[in-house]
Amino acid sequence: MAEPAMQLIGLKKQIGSKLIVKGLDFDIQPGEVFGFLGPNGAGKTTTIRMMVGLIRISEGDVRIQGKSIKSDFKGAIRHVGAIVENPELYGFMSGYKNLLVFSRMIPGITRDRIDEVVKLVGLEKSISQKVKRYSLGMRQRLGIAQALLHRPSILILDEPTNGLDPSGIREIRHYIRKLAEEENVAVIVSSHLLSEMELMCDRIGILKNGELISIQEVHSTDKDVPEEMVKIDCSAAQLENAKQLLQEKFGIAAVDNNNQLLFPISRDQMPPIIKALAVADIEMYAVAVERKTLEDKFLHVIGENVIE
């Protein structure tokens, strides 16, 4: 296997006595779109900020193309293009001047390259306008343009679709896939929107309370988890009874969702459960089996949305 584009080695962040990020270990490969998923407060932003050196690493390291962000900041960061949180640029300058300013910070970026990047993100018409007149979508594109100026091998986008309309989201998704597939760029995307991530990413790391609790391959989920999601629609009054029954007889912790019980189970275990519920006089209106979506998996892995 080729050298990973980025390696996280026992990455920890401690603020005061509290561990915000509790030791992350994983690699990101060139040409891969890696999603970073987790509820708010899980440590996504802290981790991303450590990756680009905005926040100091308490323990462990981040290696970019083999270079440590701690000991060789300049060598490591020159491979990285990033938007951290919102695409905040200088509003009082034109889009072009913004790019010009950033291009001067890295040697070897020609004016031709600036024009090329502007064309890539489709901002030719408005590049000479002041950024404060840009829409959020245009800012996002300019943000991507500044991140791509120096042909980075790793692109880090923190919540890239935040606040964009559906067509804007589709466009960003298209850029990201294209960069990964055509230019072999490793892209790291963070989000709390699961459906978004599913469409964009090759792999998704799920972060909870500063720990990486699972890494899922997006396109092979069925093989990994044979379980299916069962939805039982029963009368509201009997919901608790049904829940209790499932717990006692089958050891299933069902989740109450809009007067429907949700739980994961394999298909062949279903008949005895239905029978037991019927015998217990639980009035059921519908029993449905759903293929587990990433969202369910996410909720399942995360458990309740508890932030410590």
């Binding site: 960061i77 990285v80 905040e88 640029l89 910070m105």
Partner: protein, 308 residues
Amino acid sequence: MSSNFFQLVRNEQTKLYSQLATWIMLGILVVVVLGFALITRTADNFTTDYDEATWKQELQDQNESLAEIDQADTQILINNYRIENDLMPDGMTAWDFLYDSNMLTSVLSLLTIIVAGGIIANEYRWGTIKLLLIRPATRTKIFFAKYTSVLLFALTALIVLFIFSWLFGMLLFGLGGDGSVLQVKDGKVVEVSVWTRIAQDYGLQLVKLVVWATFAFMISAALRNGALAIGTAIFLMFAGSSIVLFIYDKPFAKYVLFSNLDLTQFTTGMKLVEDLTLTFAVVTIIVYYLIFLVIGWVLFTKRDVAGN
């Protein structure tokens, strides 16, 4: 390395002069100079034009009235020197106005403090700090590029002050003499050339400017709050000499920055604190100055850039 630093300074200048506020500040400076010139012109005691036949008598009269107020007034010595050596005063000229404009360096200080207080804090406020610090340039370099940019702004504003003082001075008072003046030094009257005078008048004021601008820059870098940086620096600059009045007889008074900062006390001989010497004052100022820079630098390079 050095070209990299030059590019960073260039970027800071580009950003500074892309902001309307910067141009408004320079505009205000020009308006203040014009206002000062007009006030000086209309206040007639400033603009006495001497008559070839009567100037000696006029100086005699002036001496008598000055002596009533203060026997030791140095102007008396100068007037006597003129009468003895048959040197008729030129009256008010553009050169004199240029000297008088050194009072306006307090406006210059104000503007420089505003720039110094904002130059780092604004990047945090705009969110652009996250893009600035993820480039292959160390934080130390960015810190000093910004500081250099502040000093360059002060220099630019000083040049604007010079040019317009001289210009308005020439229009309103005319160009007369070679700009040299008579001054009392150690009880003797000496002729001082135009450039010595300018260096002396402005130089001592600029020490104050640089110290308070550095103070504002430190607060801006350390606390990332522009308003606080500008507010405290301006307050201390103006309140400083009043504070000395309360503490001048205390044993620690000579170690307080305010006691040392007004270097004109050594040219006029009116010391704020009894046992101060010029060398001691200069060393104290340098120590404070370095402390400001080091605090700002350490906090800017070490503190995490965390979310809002």
